[in-house]
């Protein structure tokens, strides 16, 4: 958690760039962009102190639409890049953003280990159960019977449960939000940013072009019926029976954040040469 700058409150507008998103009109990501900028305003960190790191996909276009520093990296590796950045520059506020294909498929391995490592990052996944940018292939969160060209009749594969996996792997803050509630989502993102360690926010964000049926998510999304828990075992029981539409903060952990970041130097560079110095003969070493 970063110290909040004490100065005039900023508004969501402060964090918006002048680039207009190319997302299809009606896309949930517009709302997520709005929520992210509102959340940053709540946290009131200077835009130049924020870096938004992303991968490849429609959702990963988001950095250029903010007024913060951005890194639009390669497919699936945003968490790795963000980890390097945060460990090297711990004073920055680092947000990681991307979609379900980028994050859970090719990025799956990095997701597991980012949760374990618990570096202070906030990871936002805009989940629309599809690969949008490449025109509609199933993603890990797509239902097993969703028909597509690449998997006719459906993949037949069990759906990936990111929240369960995040919990099992050690994420320190786990929440689900819905793009249909931009203010509620802004609230959750702000909490995630302020919560120490790896904060994971999965945001249901419908794709109007490839999954128009997701308009019904408005009817299905509901506030989670229970308050967030700090007990991992209880969270696990809840998440294992979660149907994917409970909205809210679901788990708040208290694991210590990653401790092997940069610290201030403890010695001079030249002191390291002591390892190499060949000692002269000590009269005690040589028997008389």
């Amino acid at each position: 958690m970063n110290d909040v700058a004490v100065c005039a409150p900023r508004t969501a507008q402060t964090y918006k760039s002048s680039y207009k998103p190319i997302w299809c009109p009606g896309c949930g990501d517009y709302s997520v962009l709005s929520s992210v900028t509102k959340a940053l305003a709540k946290v009131n960190v200077a835009p130049e102190e924020v870096v938004v790191v992303s991968g490849i996909g429609c959702s990963s276009r988001i950095p250029a639409y903010t007024n913060c520093y951005g890194f639009h990296g390669v497919h699936g590796r945003a968490l790795a890049a963000a980890t390097g950045l945060k460990v090297a520059r711990p004073e920055l506020t680092v947000l990681v953003a991307g979609g379900d294909g980028d994050g859970y498929s090719i990025g799956g391995n990095h997701f597991l280990h980012a949760c374990r490592r618990n570096v202070d990052l906030t990871y936002i996944v805009m989940d629309n159960h599809v690969y949008g940018m490449t025109k509609g292939q199933p993603s890990p969160t797509t239902e097993p019977d969703w028909d597509s060209k690449l998997a006719p009749g459906g993949t037949g594969m069990r759906v990936f449960h990111p929240l369960v996996i995040a919990l099992a792997a050690g994420a320190n803050f786990i929440a689900r939000a819905f793009s249909g509630d931009p203010n509620g989502t802004a609230e959750i993102i702000a909490q995630a940013i302020l919560h120490p360690g790896f904060s994971f926010v999965e945001i249901l964000s419908p794709c109007v072009t490839f999954r128009p049926e997701q308009r019904e998510w408005k009817e299905l999304a509901r506030p989670a019926p229970v308050a967030p828990t700090t007990d991992a075992a209880r969270a696990a029981r809840r998440l294992m029976s979660d149907d994917g539409f409970n909205i809210g903060v679901l788990f708040e952990g208290d694991r210590p954040t990653y401790a092997h970041g940069r610290t201030s130097p403890r010695c001079e560079l030249a002191d390291l040469e002591n390892d190499f110095v060949l000692a002269g003969v000590d009269t005690e070493e040589v028997p008389a």
Partner: protein, 601 residues
């Protein structure tokens, strides 16, 4: 000597030979945005031309939006097969002007061109006015509105088709064949089509394709012409792979290769194969290695960023001698680059980008039709030589659609040399004379072995011994270099002391450029290389017999092919290079200019 282009030269269209320099083909662009359906119009125009006995090529271009953005269908029609775009366009039909300036470089126009646009959509934009083309205003939107239930792109289709000289029957047939939305809509759109055809009669200045003298001649032309296909390079490559015997594919979506995989998914199921969508490219390449180790010819398709991830896997296939085929549909690089545009900039990577000494096969189809034969050949070679094969296709070939004569069947399905059961003293990596050792397929008794990326003895036991390393390195190289690839390794055409060497999608515009020069009495030999790796110097020497100077032509910034050829071959004289990067395709006129200038020197 480098004839690299400067940025400035790239910014404006090169000295354009008037489009009518190629008097037999007609180039039409249909542009519009926000649901105007120009891609569909272009596709139907191409199909109609096919039904009328013509050939054609269609290239798509669009803005960054997934739906509703500006788009243009670029269609070239001719009485003979065409594999390249012409220098400019004879006709531009603009349904609206929104962001059309984005396509200014791609849709070059001259004073001989005609632009049809809708005056209600605003004035002709300055960029288009400046080219001097003749502007014919036509109230397309009003005309479409007057036919309830019709689409404006059908008007454009009728207009384009009639100006091209296509018979109404062909246009109608194309529309009917594609229609899936009910009778009422079909009638309305047929009406729109006819309205477009009628509107063409008032428009001068577009010279139609060569027309048959009578209707019966036209019918005869269609009836007597050999069977033809209409498909994209991606589909062609997918089909070629199946012809070669591929029955397992691992897939990870990436522009511009996804369509190949999407075509193969149901096709494989039909022929008893399987496709698995992988979690990423690391998984894809390892999945196909696994399947191939099990005895099933396997393939994946990707683009530059995916190929980069697959390199470790390809190296494993080299070391363990497991056949795989990786199709790389090249796009603008480096890194994420320009995903929806073509470039030939993965060549260095394909021929060299593996750690260690890792010989592999690299092939490049030279046209959409060639995607069938070359992919099939790649499968055959990979299987025969128990090695990975990279097929360098590109976005231009992969995503363009063309009408072609049915490609001749390439002889032979892939055949892997396998070990019989219970062979005494079986050694998987036996040092044979031609370097190919029988491969035991799991399930075969008496010849079990463990495949390994670690260096190994002939008996497949891991080894760090100098002798074993030497033997295996020699074997893996020898098997590729000693193989008899036959005549397909390159196309050698024409005579002359000067030769142009090229590969892939650059071949078609180079061929056209050379045809224009030949018409002026300037003769240049052409070498289109299909087998890029391994390099075989004596074969190149034979192809360049009598040649004293060569010019290497390619579409990338770093002159990759030029540098590669110079590194593995002794080229005659002082080899020269013409290279420029994507996203704009190479055009015959710029190549003709460059070749003439080089040859004159």
């Amino acid at each position: 000597m480098m004839l690299a282009t400067t940025q400035e030269q790239e910014a404006r269209p090169r000295a354009i030979v008037p489009a009518h320099a190629d008097a037999t083909s007609l180039s039409i662009a249909v542009a519009g945005s926000g649901g105007s359906g120009v891609m569909t119009a272009g596709s139907l125009l191409l199909e109609a031309a096919g039904k009328a006995g013509f050939y054609g090529l269609m290239v798509r271009t669009s803005g960054p939006q997934i739906r509703g953005g500006e788009a243009a269908a670029l269609v070239r029609l001719a009485p003979r097969p065409v594999n390249s775009l012409d220098d400019g366009f004879d006709l531009l039909i603009a349904i609206d002007w929104l962001n059309l300036h984005r396509f200014a470089d791609e849709i070059a126009l001259t004073p001989a061109s005609v632009i049809v646009g809708d005056p209600d959509a605003g004035d002709l934009p300055e960029a288009l006015r400046a080219c001097g083309a003749r502007y014919v205003p036509l109230p397309l939107k009003k005309m479409a509105k007057a036919i309830p239930g019709s689409w404006i792109n059908m008007l454009a289709l009728g207009l384009a088709g009639a100006l091209a000289g296509l018979p109404e029957r062909a246009l109608e047939a194309a529309l009917r064949a594609s229609w899936t939305r009910g009778e009422a809509g079909l009638e309305a759109n047929l009406t729109a089509l006819r309205a477009g055809i009628a509107a063409a009669t008032g428009i001068e200045g577009v010279r139609p394709l060569a027309r048959a003298a009578s209707r019966s001649d036209a019918d005869a032309a269609v009836r007597d012409s050999p069977a033809r296909w209409l498909l994209s390079g991606n589909e062609a490559a997918g089909y070629g792979a199946l012809r070669g015997g591929v029955r397992f594919v691992a897939a990870y979506p990436i522009t511009p290769a996804t369509e190949m995989l999407e075509w193969m998914a149901p096709a494989l199921a039909k022929v008893g194969g399987a496709l698995v969508q992988a979690e990423d490219e690391l998984a894809s390449v390892n999945m196909i290695i696994g399947a191939s180790y099990g005895g099933v010819p396997s393939l994946t398709a990707t683009a530059g960023p995916g190929l980069a991830l697959m390199t470790e896997g390809i190296g494993l296939a080299v070391a363990a001698e497991v056949p795989i085929v990786v199709v790389d549909v090249m796009r603008g690089g480096p890194s994420t680059g320009i995903p929806a545009k073509s470039e030939q900039s993965d060549l260095s990577f394909a021929v060299g980008g593996l750690h260690g000494d890792a010989p592999r096969l690299v092939l490049a189809p030279a046209s959409i039709a060639d995607c069938v034969a070359t992919t099939q050949w790649a499968v055959q070679l990979a299987e025969a030589l128990q090695a990975p094969a990279i097929v360098l296709s590109d976005q231009f070939l992969g995503q363009s659609r063309a009408i072609l004569d049915v490609p001749p069947q390439r002889a032979g399905v892939a055949r892997r040399l396998t070990a019989a059961a219970n062979v005494p003293d079986y050694k998987r990596y036996r040092d044979t004379e031609n370097g190919v050792s029988p491969m035991a397929i799991p399930g075969t008794p008496g010849v079990v072995y463990t495949a390994d990326g670690l260096e190994h003895t002939e008996a497949a036991i891991p080894s760090s011994q100098a002798r074993d390393h030497r033997v295996q390195l020699d074997k893996r190289q020898r098997k590729l270099v000693m193989h008899d690839y036959g005549a397909a390794w390159a196309d050698v055409e024409g005579e002359g002391e000067a030769a142009v060497i090229t590969f892939g999608s650059a071949a078609a515009p180079v061929r056209e450029a050379l045809a224009r020069l030949a018409a002026r009495g300037v003769n240049v030999r052409l070498l289109v290389v299909r087998l890029l790796a391994p390099a075989r110097p004596e074969h190149l020497d034979r192809a360049l017999d009598g040649v004293t100077r060569v010019l290497v032509v390619e579409q990338n910034h770093g002159a990759q092919f030029y540098r590669y050829l110079r590194s593995v071959y002794d080229l005659p004289g002082k080899p020269a290079s013409f290279h420029r990067p994507g996203p704009l395709p190479l055009r015959p006129a710029e190549l003709a200019d460059a070749i003439l200038a080089w040859r004159g020197a």
